[in-house]
Every structure is written in C-alpha cells, then in structure tokens.
Symmetry: C2
Subunit: 350 residues, 2 copies
C-alpha cells in the first residue's frame, strides 16, 4: 500500500524534516509537486510554528507534515558540561572566547502541551516524531486531531515498538541517512551506533516484522533509488540530503560548499554537535573529538560548547565547527527548485 | 550489462566467497543453479585449492570463481603481539591456557607465485580478489589465463582505482556485508570505518563513477533485494549471508545457532579477530574488546590470540570467542540447498 492515499498526497515522497536548514519555503515547494512537505519544529517556538504554517496554508492546500523531537529533556550536569567545555579550550583561546561567557545554545524542545496546542490549531495531515514518540496522553490527543502519525525506527525492535503504539506508518531510517539518528531504544548504552543498519538490510527486516506501511529512508537520492525502495515493498520514501542544495532550502554557504566538495563522500556519525549521534560531512571538530565522544553531555546540551565557534568560523567562510549534516549519498543534490527535485525523484522530469 | 554473459553464467548471482565456512560443496551447489559459485582460497594451501577445484570440475562444467586475499604480509612486531595477548590474559587464566604456548593461528596467505601457478593450472572463469589487487606482474599473468578479474570497492575512490587497474567488474561492497571489509586505500589510518558506506548510497555513486559492470553486495538477502539492486543498475549481485545456513555450507554449529537467534540482528564491524575490520554477530569478545581496537596487530596476526579460546569455547557449545561472520540482513538465511537458495534469490522458486 502506498502512503499517497494514506496521507492524501499525489507522490509517495516525504521530504525529510531538516531542522536548522529549512523553513516553510521548502515545505511549500515539495507540496506543490505532490510530495509530503515537512516543517521541522524542534528548533522553533510555538508562535514561529504557527507563523510558518500560515505561510504554508497561504501557498498551498496540499497535505503537509509537522515534525517534532520527543527526547527526554536532560538534567543539566554542571560537572559534565564543564568537562565538555574543557575539550574546547584550545579553540576558545584561539578564537578569543571566554569559556564562562558561552550561552546555552539553540533551543531543541521536545513535543509537549504547547506544541500540542499548535497541532490542534493547525491540524496538519501528518505529524512525524523523531526519537520515539511523546507520552501516550499527548499522542492520543494528536491522533484525535485526525493527523496521521509516523516516527522513525532504526532497528527492528524500534519498529515493533512503534507499531505497538499505534502509529500509522514507520520510517525505516537506514544508517546512510543524514542528520540525527532516530534511535530511541537502549540509548542508555551510550548510543552504541553498531546497532544501526543500512537501508538494504533494515527495510526488508522491518517489512517482515510489521503489518503497517513502511517508508524507506537513508541513501535514497535519485529516481533509481526511489524505484528500488518501492520495489522492495516500501510504501513510500523519505528523502533529505537531495534537497539540501535546493533553492528553497536555507542551507548555509559553508554547508552548501561542503556538499559540493569531494569531502562530501566522507560522512560519519557523531554526537559531538548535540549529544546524539547524527550523520554529517567529516570536518575538523569531528576528527579532533573522534566522532563519538563519551564526554558529550546529553542531547541537546552538548551543542552549546561549539555554537560560538561555529558562528565565528562560518563568518570567516569555514565549516570547521559546523554540523554539516548530510547522508552518505550526496550524488542527488542539485541547486534546483524542490518542486523539480520532487518530480525528479519520481522520474517525472530529468 | 549483466554479468551473466561476461562470466558465462545463467544467473547474475555471485556467491560470496566465505573463507572458513565453506569448501567446494557450496561452490558446486551454486554453480548447478546457474550462479557463480566461489571458492575462498586464502586459508587453503595451493595443493588444497587444486584438490577442491578437481572436485568442482568433477561435479559441474559451469563457470566458477577462485577468490584470493591480497593484503601486504605484515612484519611481526613482538611487542605489539605480546601486548595484544595481554588483553586476553584473564580468558587464558579462566580457560587454563599458557600464553606462551599459543601458536601463530590459521594461515591467511596473500596471492603470490604459488597461487598464480594454481590459477594457471585450473584456469577458472573468474578470479576475485579482496583487499585490493596483487602486484601488476602477477595480475597480468592472471589476466593472460583468460580469467575475468574482479575485486571489491568499499568507496568511490577504491572503485576508481580498481577500474584504473583494468578489472573486468567491481563489487561495490556496502557496509551491510558480512565478513571482511574489502577496504584497501587509506588503511594506514587505522581502518577508519566511518569511510564505509551502505549499499543504497555506495552503489549509485560507484555506478556514476565507473564505466565497467558493478556487482552490488551488502544486505542483499532475498529476491526483492536482488531485483532492487539490479533495477538500480547493478550488473549482478554478490550474496553471502543467505548461504550460511545452506546444507552445503561448513558453517559451525555455534555459528548456525547464532544466525538463527535474536542476536543475529546485532552485528558490528570488528578488527579483534584478525586485525582487519569485518562484520560479525556481536558476541562476548567483541563487546569486551570494544569492537575496533587500536591494539590489534596487523592482519592476520591478531587472529592467533583468540584461536585457542575459540576452539575450547566452541567445544563447550559457546560462540563467545568465535568470529560469527554475518551481514546485517540474516532474514534470507534458510537451511536449504544452495542450489535452491540461488534460484530463490532470483525468485525462480519460493
């Protein structure tokens, strides 16, 4: 069964929500092609989500997706935060920062009552969650708005758990995918990324395990990849990386440059930017801190330490401290409209 | 273009050579179905290869593949070997071993003059290499036997290098694949496994980069996976894991049990068994030594330390110290004939 009738869209393509590199412009452009445009809400205030949704509704009457994180808000551990900052002391010295003057970093708020109120007002066709699902009483109220509910599974166990919670479809997020891994079970084990599985292995095993539609994600970057995933039994695909150079994306200049360089072929999972494993193009900070660090504070607290360095380096045209989120397959990226990209992914335009 | 006419086989399926878990019985069974049966030679003496090839020729007139490793033979570093053994001291004490009495471990000889002589005698249709290619003067003599030459690429750079050396086809080995990674460029960097890419990402990028046939490998375990890889443009597929339970495989009892357990869903890349990164089902030794160890001596010297523990634990029915090689998708495994498995992979039988 295709996700197209389930979500009331024309094409079985979900644009992956990409917090920090897009707003409603990308959502709208994908919706106009007939795909499911997504708005990442985790780094927005409720008011900002409402404003973006008004823009979407003014531009299109197509279905769209609001995406939320549902991590457990961490308790601040001052010792751990201080120890983490100490790993950055040579950079602070070099760039002239006072470590004590560094702020808390960008907000990343889990889905809660305030965002539930937004969903009730907006009534999007689809609500997607990352890092599991919100508490049952919140989830039930989302369901009652009529929204279809989806979330990401990175293992068969996670897929089975999501199915048991009554989601309408599961995103099988293969480890090729860019940005944050959706993993949420067994995360106490220090995010053992060996649990993460490639799309060719994850998709068939999730399809065998569950009875609900499965959306394939990870490494799918062109029409041949979309066709292959659908032929394996996926009900749809979720594509992120291929949209990063699109004209409607808010991808930064250093990020765009990195995506177009030879270095884009080497990505890695790292937790040093936020505290959770996410895939990005390898850069100086990832190498210096060795990709996955046991010293990183819990998500999203780890982000504060690198934020000022990132800003200053970017102003100098360098991505040394920037999370350059990207999947393992950047070959589909193109500086075209996301409307055309969506049609291209379906093989409808070349 | 399909590999079937190139290799003079009926079905575009290469049975992955799996040193240690198969002999000519598996090769023959795959050849009988019309796939390319493979004989792994790296752990055999030249005489043993000749004997196995006689068995193949007596059983089938179909094309088959001889597979060789072509690693650089390492210099023994006594200090490093002693330090490595020290990591095993608690196991040795527990199982009653004298560390000084531990032998050099199984042979793993790179392709050289002796094996070249075997190839000249046997004249197989295909010769496949792992860990790059042998020196040019040896490779040229293999070519002159009329054998088609293939090798594995784990990155686009490796694929381009193999093409420049004149191979007839490239195996794009996605990171889902079981057993040893074929990686051979930049291996001085301590086998940074972040360079390894899932099949959904690797295959399209290799296809774009080279002009010769590409065989997809990694996570392909059933007819839907084979069809998807071919639809993406692969000229054929290489499948290993799905054959591990086949009646003609020599997979050990503990290995077979592990493949059928829930734990088979969790594999990891590890260098602790041989010194090179390879994918196997997570077991005690992998967890204890943390998967990838900077202390492991160069391939294949690391193998000696765990070999006696492995033998003793296996005799007690335990796989705690056994390399339980497997890919990330064990869902295709079945205790059927490899002839039937090959036909099943093509969707010709259910």
């Amino acid at each position: 069964m295709s996700i197209a009738p389930l979500f009331n869209i024309r094409l079985p393509i979900v644009q992956a929500p990409m917090a920090g590199v897009q707003d409603s412009d990308l959502t709208i452009a994908v919706c106009k092609a007939g795909g499911l445009g997504s708005l990442p809400c985790a780094m927005l205030t409720p008011q900002a989500v409402l404003t973006e949704c008004e823009k979407i509704r003014a531009a299109t009457d197509q279905a769209f997706n609001l995406n939320f994180f549902c991590h457990q808000p961490p308790l601040v551990d001052p010792d751990k935060s201080a120890a983490w900052k100490a790993h950055f002391s040579s950079y602070y010295a070099q760039w002239g920062f006072d470590p004590d003057g560094i702020g808390p970093g960008a907000i990343r708020v889990p889905f809660g009552e305030e965002m539930l109120a937004v969903v009730k007002l907006v009534r999007p066709a689809v609500v997607s969650f990352h890092f599991g699902l919100p508490p049952a009483h919140l989830l039930e109220q989302v369901r009652q708005t009529g929204a279809k509910i989806i979330s990401s599974a990175t293992t068969v166990q996670e897929a089975l758990w999501l199915q048991s919670q009554g989601v309408d479809a599961i995103i099988a997020q293969g480890l090729e995918a860019g940005g944050h891994r959706g993993l949420f079970l067994d995360t106490d084990a220090g995010y053992d990324v060996t649990s993460q599985v490639g799309t060719f292995a994850l998709l068939p095993q999730v399809l065998r395990a569950v009875d609900i539609p499965v959306i394939a994600a990870g490494g799918i970057a062109d029409a041949a990849g979309v066709k292959a995933a659908l032929s394996m039994g996926a009900a749809g695909v979720q594509v992120g990386t291929s949209y990063l150079l699109c004209t409607e994306a808010k991808t930064s200049a250093v990020h765009r440059a990195a995506l177009q360089g030879e270095g884009a072929r080497h990505t890695a999972l790292t937790n040093i930017f936020t505290g959770r494993p996410a895939r990005g193009i390898v850069n100086r900070l990832m190498k210096d801190l060795n990709y996955m660090s046991v010293h990183a504070p819990a998500f999203p607290l780890a982000a504060a330490a690198s934020a000022p360095l990132r800003a200053k380096a970017e102003a100098a045209g360098r991505g040394d401290f920037t999370p350059l989120w990207a999947g393992q397959n950047t070959s589909g990226c193109a500086a075209i409209s996301a409307t055309d990209m969506t049609l291209r992914l379906m093989g409808l335009v070349s």
